[in-house]
Symmetry: C2
Subunit: 217 residues, 2 copies
DNA sequence: TGCAGAATGGGCCGCCAGACCCATGGCGCA
DNA sequence: TGCGCCATGGGTCTGGCGGCCCATTCTGCA
């Protein structure tokens, strides 16, 4: 309390420069936060982190080339990372968690909440659990329909493939190592839950729900 | 030059608060630009503009409820508006132009370029034409594939429907007021140009290309 | 003036997608 | 212990999708 307070050193990564530069200035305007570097893609971020050793990393998922998640997976055991995304749904969240992110926030979050998250991350707290849950819930994108919540893991996986352009029964079966018949069964179940009728609509929904999966899985 | 310079009064609208608040602070940091108000959806923006009469409007296309374009269409004959979007492709651009926007920029644009655009807009210049073209081109999202450029207007329209979940030949034909046969012909042409084989893949590509169209057209 | 391309349309056909029935094994939970 | 759900798989059938070939009209450009 009486001690001299050192600013939290933050590294920022986002391919949208307006957000990147705007957010950097806004964060610099907060007394105890200091943006020490920015990156516009995952590769940049990896270099930046290695060069500057920040206290906290703030990273967007969607970036050209090396994505934010890929960069985090690469870095690992580095400084605590908060993932910022437009798709603040459970799917992206667990993927962020899987690569070691300690925080996960929607771009719709107000700035002070992000600042609070940065302070918590710098203090070594994880925001992925319990009470942070309620704060997060308030800022999650309101697009998750009733049916989407009922999707099973396998169904989401299948939707992920569809969203990345794998559409034929045969290809889907091969990639999931199951028979063509099972693919069709899963699809039928998906159609019912999402109230749709074919793969084209399923692909649209899958993308809307953020279930897209990079083909290199 | 020697005259006292009055700041340009800017109104900002974006549903992503991190971008909104960050960009607001960043713009306020520029001497001749003054952000006089922000909005998180189209309805907010309409109120804000009526109340504050800004010199320039900066608006995102994608917002919940009333979209940025819908808000601009509502406002019309108001202050010059610059549309800022993640999907900086020709399709979105012409739609922005249709509702009277004088500028159109990707969120990947560096901040100084945006500031320049704001100054130009405040000075009554239009950035939709000629030389601004080259600046814009540099900041357009780099995802437009070779084949996508060859798509005709009708084909894009059809893709737009697909991307919003209209998938059956019958529905497509009804909405476009053409025969089912013509729908299939257009689709075949699309498949060839984009090197894909079915509607599901076409929907994925359409969304990727930002051709999605709201169902209420 | 003619040609290329776009938009509209037709016919035909093979095959896959989706609908509707079912069975089995595993897993979790009451 | 049994119920329900999930993932896996089978069979069948019909309709629609996509592939291929074609014609007509209009526009714009060389």
């Amino acid at each position: 309390m009486g001690k001299a307070q050192v600013s939290i050193r933050v590294a920022l990564a986002d391919d949208h420069r307006l957000l990147l530069e705007g957010l950097a200035q806004a964060l610099n305007g907060i007394p105890d936060i200091d943006v020490i570097g920015t990156a516009v893609d995952g590769a940049d971020l990896i270099e930046l982190v290695a060069a500057t050793e920040p206290d906290v990393i703030l990273v967007d998922i969607e970036m050209p080339g090396t994505s934010g998640l890929a960069a985090l997976a690469e870095i690992r055991n580095g400084p605590p990372a908060i993932v910022v995304t437009m798709h603040a749904d459970q799917e992206h969240r667990s993927r962020a968690q899987a690569v070691g992110a300690v925080g996960f926030m929607s771009k719709s979050t107000p700035l002070p909440d992000l600042a609070a998250a940065i302070r918590a991350a710098a203090a070594g707290e994880s925001l992925m659990n319990d009470d942070a849950e309620t704060i997060l819930a308030m800022h999650q994108d309101p697009v998750l329909s009733a049916g989407a919540a009922a999707l099973t893991a396998r169904e989401k996986e299948l939707l992920g493939m569809l969203a990345s352009g794998v559409s034929s029964t045969d290809d889907l079966a091969n990639r999931l190592f199951i028979s063509q018949k099972t693919v069709k069964n899963h699809l039928a179940s998906i159609y019912e839950k999402l109230d749709i009728t074919d793969r084209a609509q399923a692909a649209v929904e899958a993308i809307r729900l953020g279930l897209r999966r990079d083909p290199d899985d």
